[in-house]
């Protein structure tokens, strides 16, 4: 406990002066007697311009006429309270612009009579954040329902094209059948893209269930599964274990699956394919992991595009895919407060890094 007596007047003045909120003190007649540095900054006045002025100079035009009445009411029964409970409050800057504010009041009895102190906080950012959150929630559920509804007509598109192929193949002729086949193929591709949108909206909305996960163990399991799916390929895996992290198990598994699947896919042209999972020195970051392969690599000029949805750096006929895997990786790493980046060169393999808490490897 600080003993009040131990603080000089100068300390009090400094405390008020440096307070994070704008402080404006008025006397019983409504004239400003004291302002701090934040109040000068917030309202855009020099303090010499404010001292002695009625406090209404800081009240937006619309509320000014009623303000002296409210002020008198407060002085008649002063107690510490927020101002205008439940009402949107605003302050008026020197240039007459207004900003949304949160204001709390307290009264101090002095030898010269009552002083009212107002602490004023600009809540523009907070309101904007709230609006943004609301908008983004709305957008995600919109994405969800739209992508869901889009699947039905797509199924009809693909379905009737196959009906054409099966029942009217001869009438269509070779060229016509080729076109119908394209419709089927493109519908399927669009279906996968819609699935990505669904997944994106789900991952944005999902609550993170953070728990201790051994990423090395997960990576080893994924490697085993992928090897079992294609037993004909010889790929050497080097997987660091254990790599303990605090993560959402289901989501982080998706990250590892996408990265290891990619590594697997892009090393398909090599007899000496190798895929490595490990951790890089990360300074004080909790976790920085990478998946490295010696496959086809990529042109580093386009590295920025890698993590955008539906972007592909390789021709579909060389390496099939929908271009959504790395976008998911990025989204999930970012939901964990981390980030992703990649290093690589054409023909020289690629390394994909991710962190789970926002700090970069050193």
């Amino acid at each position: 406990m600080i003993q009040l007596g131990a603080l000089s007047d100068g300390t009090f003045a400094a405390l008020v002066e440096e307070a994070p909120d704008a402080m404006v003190c008025i006397a019983a007649d409504g004239r400003i007697v004291l302002v701090n540095a934040e109040a000068e900054r917030l309202f855009g006045y020099e303090r010499t311009e404010l001292i002695g002025q009625p406090v209404e100079i800081l009240v937006p035009d619309a509320a000014r006429a009623g303000h002296p009445g409210h002020r008198a009411g407060y002085i008649a029964s002063p107690r510490h309270r927020p101002m205008g409970v439940g009402l949107p409050l605003a302050g008026r800057r020197r240039d007459a612009s207004a900003f949304p504010a949160e204001i709390s009041l307290s009264a101090i009895g002095t030898d010269e009579g009552i002083l009212v102190a107002a602490a004023i906080r600009d809540v523009t950012d907070r309101l904007r954040l709230k609006d943004l959150e609301r908008a983004s929630q709305g957008l995600e559920s919109f994405i969800y329902s739209v992508s869901h509804d889009l699947r039905a007509p797509l199924r009809a598109l693909s379905g009737y094209s196959e009906v054409l192929l099966e029942d009217f193949g001869e009438v269509l002729g070779e060229e016509g059948r080729g076109h119908a086949e394209r419709i089927v193929a493109v519908s399927e591709q669009m279906g996968q893209q819609i699935d990505y949108l669904l997944q994106y909206s789900r991952v944005s909305r999902a609550e993170l269930h953070l728990q201790p996960v051994d990423l090395g163990e997960e990576a080893a399991r994924i490697a085993e599964e992928i090897q079992r799916r294609e037993p004909g390929r010889r790929v050497s895996f080097a997987i660091e274990q254990p790599v303990k992290a605090l993560a959402d198990r289901r989501l982080i598994r998706t990250v590892l699956e996408n990265l290891i699947d990619n590594a697997w896919k892009f090393t398909s042209g090599r007899d000496d394919a190798s895929i490595e999972f490990g951790t890089a020195p990360s300074g004080d970051a909790a976790m920085c992991c990478y998946v490295r392969d010696n496959g086809a690599g990529f042109d580093s000029a386009y590295a920025g595009k890698l993590f955008l949805p539906f972007q592909r750096l390789h021709a579909a006929r060389d390496f099939p895919g929908t271009g959504t895997g790395l976008a998911s990786v990025r989204q999930i790493a970012e939901r964990h407060g981390g980030r992703v980046w990649a290093e690589g060169a054409v023909g020289a393999g690629a390394t994909f890094y991710f962190t789970l808490d926002g700090k970069e490897c050193t």
Binding site: H148, R151, A152, P153, L154, R155, A156, S158, G159, Y160, S161, E162, V163, V184, S187, E188, M190, G191, I194, D195, L198
Partner: protein
């Protein structure tokens, strides 16, 4: 097998046409009855409401393919109502829907769905799914004995 019916509850005419085609292609010859909303499906099963339904006059379907997103009465409510009535309690119900939402899958199982199949976009995959569902539930799976659950319960009491 004759006299068996499959009830398809589906409001999208394209999905209906493609499902019927898929059944035809997989040589499932049972009669397929289509109801285009949940209320009509309940009416068909129970003959509720204005009484012009089939009620007990027709045999209960051997298999029900149920969409979730339906006009009037939703698929989950149809399922819930069916499971609460001993006449329809044990009919195999396969939920056949576009939704991959975890909540929809959980709610379906909670309400007593026997299976949950997401309609694939690609028709040949869809046709294969319908074929597999039909083959399993109509050919491989042993249905509830014709004597019904009551006789078995009576048997236990002896």
């Amino acid at each position: 097998m004759t006299g068996r019916t499959i009830l398809l509850v589906e409001d999208n005419p394209d999905d209906e046409a493609l499902t019927l085609r898929a059944f035809k292609k997989s040589n499932i010859s049972d009669e397929i009855v289509v109801m285009r909303d949940g209320a009509a499906a309940l009416e068909y099963l129970f003959g509720n409401g204005n009484g012009n339904g089939n009620g007990d006059a027709v045999p209960y379907p051997a298999l029900i393919l149920l969409d979730l997103n339906l006009p009037k009465v939703g698929g989950l409510e149809v399922l819930h109502t069916m499971r609460a009535d001993e006449r329809t309690q044990m009919i195999p119900v396969v939920v056949l829907t576009s939704s991959k939402l975890d909540e929809d899958i959980l709610d379906s199982y909670r309400n007593g769905a026997n299976a949950y199949v997401r309609k694939p976009v690609k028709f040949s995959d869809f046709a294969e799914a319908v074929r597999a569902v039909g083959a399993f539930w109509l050919l491989l799976n042993e249905p509830v004995p014709a004597s019904g659950p009551e006789s078995i319960e009576a048997g236990h009491e002896q």
